[in-house]
């Protein structure tokens, strides 16, 4: 009791300096959050603005005139629709392949007694430290016939030793008794894996799936390098990237804002903004889940190492 009062007294004594700190800290945090949100808001405003309104030299907190023109254009543009479909497909298929391959490998790696386990782990682990690099990779894809092929989006990403080890650590925590019981009842390993292990591992599968989904959705480099010329395999990210390209090309070859002005007509900022929204929106929608599971996933990795 006396101790508590003592502590209270000390708290009172420090409260002035402490309170000033709290106020400064709160102000700083609010400013920081605004800085994070500003670009998002800016792109929202642009996407709902008329093309002629946004090149003016003042700060637009809201569109001068609200319009859906940019979105109408985006949803009628065949290339953008194709890109959206390709992005969705690669996200769904790529994630499914990744989960199946990694979970199967992880289940095998829980067998500590398995012969050659160390050798196999080493084979799977070495690529984490040394990769062939951009050009050998490209030549390899060419040799495998994967250039301008949808499979190039979903096969090379099919396996990751990092995720496999996270999944394996989770598998270790599953009660061995259940598996043994099933085994005695005559269930095959495939059966045990599919109907006992997998359903019990939903949290880790959800975590890894979300990681992979974000990774797939955000990929563009493989599109640029391996499927540069196939217009029916373009992804949303690369489409946005090309809009950025056409902008920089025009601004650096010509000089001054006049040249940029002429560019706006062919590639309006509003359409770019609406496309950006289309790219960002799915991430924002699944963000609450992401936040929940990402933090958990980091913990899994950190704690069980």
């Amino acid at each position: 009791m006396a101790r508590e009062q003592e502590a209270k007294k000390i708290k009172m004594k420090q409260s002035v300096g402490s309170r000033i700190f709290d106020i400064c800290n709160t102000v700083f945090m609010v400013v920081f959050c605004i800085t994070i949100l500003l670009p998002f808001w800016d792109v929202v405003v642009r996407s709902f603005s008329r093309a002629q309104d946004i090149s003016y030299m003042h700060i637009n907190l809201f569109p001068k005139v609200w319009t859906l023109d940019a979105y109408k254009y985006v949803f009628q543009d065949n290339e953008i629709i194709t890109a959206f479909v390709v992005s969705v497909l690669r996200t769904v298929i790529g994630t499914a392949i990744h989960i199946i391959v990694c979970c199967m490998a992880a289940y095998s790696l829980t067998r500590t007694e398995m012969p050659f386990r160390r050798f196999i782990t080493a084979v799977l682990l070495i690529p984490m430290f040394f990769s062939a690099g951009m050009i050998p990779m490209y030549l390899n894809m060419k040799r495998l016939g994967l250039l301008n092929n949808f499979l190039v989006y979903v096969l090379p990403t099919g396996f990751s030793i990092y995720n496999t080890i996270i999944i394996r650590n989770y598998f270790f925590s599953i009660d061995k008794g259940m598996e043994e019981a099933a085994s005695i009842d005559g269930a095959s390993q495939v059966r045990i894996f599919a109907s006992i292990i997998m359903p019990l591992s939903k949290p880790v599968i959800a975590t890894v799936s979300l990681w992979q989904m974000v990774g797939q959705w955000n990929s563009w480099f493989d599109n640029m390098v391996y499927c540069r010329r196939s217009s029916n395999l373009i992804t949303l990210q690369y489409l946005l990237r090309r809009m950025l390209d056409s902008l920089t090309a025009a601004t650096t070859t010509a000089s001054g804002p006049e040249a940029i002005g002429s560019l706006v007509d062919t590639n309006p900022d509003t359409i770019k903004a609406a496309t950006t929204i289309l790219v960002v929106l799915p991430i924002v929608v699944i963000y609450p889940f992401l936040q929940k599971y990402f933090v958990k996933g980091i913990m899994v990795g950190a704690v069980k190492g």
Partner: protein, 312 residues
Amino acid sequence: MEHTKSLRTGSMKKELKKYFPFYMFLLPAIILVILFCYMPMEGLMIAFKDYKMARGIEGSEWVGLKHFQALFSDPNFYRVLGNTLKISIFTLLTTFPITIIFTILVNEILNTKFKSVVQTITYMPHFLSWVVVGTFVYQILSPTGGVINAILIQLGILDKPLYFMAQKDMFVPIYLIANLWKSTGYSIVIYLATIAGIDTALYDAASIDGANRFRRILHITLPAMFPTMCTMLILNIGSLVSVGFDPIFNLYNDATYQTADVISTYVYRKGMIESRYDFSTAIGLFQNVVSLVLVLIANWFARKANPEYKII
């Protein structure tokens, strides 16, 4: 002797048979790793060959270290290497202290609701691709309707719009700010987890002993973060020669190559755009070998500093 040997091979066979389904489970992973990690390594040979597409990797002629000689006498290579080192050192010098300060500030927010709102907002950019972040940066700094130009003109600091992204001296600062914008909220997560593990009794005891808030941070929070800080620092040093391709590629343009071009973007342009496959493979090989050595050294140090630390 004979007998035990045959027994051993017999039991080995039995073991292999017992584990057969598990080997099958590993098969897809092994096939993918061979196809996309080991098979490309064959292509590294062209760093020592005069690569002709018609002849293929095997058929091309060996030229020894020709490409490496060309590389080390190429002024562009030194520029690119210098930029890479400069950008990664500056990145380390900014992100590292700012992450720690930001972690402490977030941790000191008393209102838990506000704290979680701050974390939710600042964490978000981590999930965006660099293409999107690049779009944001170009858009905000745009000379036609960009927010920054609009503000600077209204304040009278600039009299006409400045095309920031085409200023070669501004590339590194812009890159560093964009990087902080994207990654600060995410990088504090691991530190906050460390802080969450601190026994609260320590703080209570300290305040009873008269330690004020600042002293509690200095003597309890910071020392608790120290092991994580060491690990992070060492890992960062491991990636000193590998500035990521994505952020540079989405922020640079012809006007800023002088200061922005790093090894990975140079490899891309020489290889994919100019089709000098053999030469750019040599550059990539150089980078990967140096990276590997640095990572191994860093890991060795990390293990010395923290015996609990494991690579994975």
